[in-house]
């Protein structure tokens, strides 16, 4: 049975689209999509996050009270982040990074960079 050339072309295009779609998905993971941690109700959410090296992590303050993101090791220190403010830091090296809010030390979080 002879398959019409148009059907072959269509299948080819479809396969191509699938490959592109899959590739894009893998690529975006490799390019390390930005990650966000929300500061709300005096908590970091999520409290623990795992990302790939090279990821830029953004903290967003959704409380009526300012917060900071302060690394236990001193690697990063946001300064005061007011309501609706954000702070971003790009993590290049794998490791476990503990951070706290220097205004509310009861707020603690952990970032694992793989």
């Amino acid at each position: 049975m002879r398959i019409p050339r148009s059907r072959v072309a269509l299948a080819f295009v479809g396969a191509l689209l699938l490959i592109v779609a899959l590739y894009t998905r893998v690529a975006s993971a490799d390019e390390t999509a930005p990650a966000q941690i929300v500061m709300k109700d005096f908590k970091f959410t999520p409290m623990s996050l795992t990302v790939k090296a090279g990821t830029t992590v953004t903290w967003a303050n959704k409380d009526d009270e300012p917060h900071t993101v302060t690394s236990d090791s001193g690697l990063f220190r946001s300064g005061a982040i007011d309501t609706d403010g954000t702070y971003s830091f790009r993590f290049e090296r794998p490791g476990t990074y503990h951070f706290t809010c220097s205004i509310h030390p009861q707020m603690v979080g952990t970032l694992v960079v793989q």
Binding site: F42, D64, P66, D82, H98, T100, I103, H104, P105
Partner: protein, 319 residues
């Protein structure tokens, strides 16, 4: 002011409401400092019975804050300053127990300095709150107020026979924990107190409470116990803190603990709600939730009914 004063006239009650947002005065009674609400102290008739005003505590001015809990923190601070300036005998010194600013921004410190300079008192002593050291370089506070402590954040001075110690407990937080004084500062306290006679009244002030009020919110200082042990031998110790924006008092032996109200906005009672954020109250209720604290050297002994704690409950009940 006590709520249990049956003779209080309506006129006086209204006056007290208007003066809410002022603060508390401390009176020195036989070597023991007693906090008195500033509205009472500023009242020409009743205030004159309380002896010579000694000093005023102001706290948590949070200049830069502009949220619904108080859109104009400059105005409420100015109101408190006016009240101090209106006292017939003005105290000679003012103690600010921190959170001068909200976000440690230079322009906030500039505004705060400008407003505080209107206080008609000769000395202003400060300690930083965690909101004052939230800049990335931790330098804005020390650039302005660091001289007295040689940029350490802690120092002592004597005034009218009373030994004052300014302490810092808002740096080096233990994550997940409480405020901290640190070994170096505690060693300095030991050296500083060594030459003091046990009969010298001691006033210690720091931003975060030097006793545990509510640990889940960090309302305490992890190593405060090591400070308190050094203070036990003294006959009169007054410990003044801010941070929690409400009056809480405790007496432990010869040591009186007192936390001041904010001049900016109230905070919830310990453990009420998700965290220690600004508490929004009806605008006509706000003045009664704010305040500063004044200390005066009193000439007569208060009756037991007018003791420190009774006075505090009256103040806490709303002026």
């Amino acid at each position: 002011m006590s709520n249990d004063q049956p003779s209080r006239s309506r006129r006086n009650a209204l006056k007290c409401l208007a003066y809410g947002g002022a603060g508390t005065v401390f009176a020195l009674t036989g070597g023991v400092l007693t906090p008195i609400d500033l509205a009472v102290a500023a009242d020409k008739t009743r205030g004159s019975k309380m002896g010579r005003p000694f000093f005023v505590q102001i706290s948590d001015t949070h200049i830069g804050f502009n949220k619904p809990a108080n859109p104009d923190v400059g105005a409420t601070l100015t109101r408190s300053i006016e009240l101090v300036n209106s006292m017939s005998i003005r105290p000679q010194l003012i103690i600010h127990t921190g959170d001068i600013t909200h976000l440690s921004r230079p322009e906030e410190f500039d505004t705060a300095e400008q407003l505080l300079s209107q206080l008609a008192v000769s000395e202003l002593h400060t300690v930083p709150g965690e909101h004052d050291v939230a800049d990335t370089t931790v330098s804005e506070y020390f650039n302005r107020f660091g001289k007295a402590s040689n940029n350490k954040g802690y120092y002592s001075f004597d005034h009218a026979g009373v030994h004052f110690m300014a302490l810092i407990n808002v740096l080096h937080f233990k994550p997940g924990g409480l405020g901290a004084l640190g070994a170096e500062q505690l060693r300095w306290v030991n050296d500083d107190l060594r030459g003091q006679s046990a009969s010298t009244p001691i006033v210690v002030f720091a931003h975060m409470p030097l006793w545990s009020i509510y640990e889940p919110w960090g309302w305490g200082t992890g190593d405060a116990r090591l400070l308190i042990e050094q203070l036990r031998r003294f006959g009169s110790v007054t410990i003044l803190n801010g941070h929690i924006h409400q009056i809480v008092q405790k007496v432990e032996g010869n040591i009186t603990f007192h936390t001041a109200r904010s001049t900016a906005y109230p905070q919830p009672e310990p453990g009420v709600g998700p965290g220690p954020g600004p508490l929004v109250v009806a605008s006509d209720q706000l003045p009664a939730r704010l305040g500063i604290t004044t200390v005066s050297s009193i000439k007569h002994h208060l009756s037991p009914g007018d003791s420190t704690l009774a006075d505090a409950s009256g103040v806490a009940g709303g002026v």
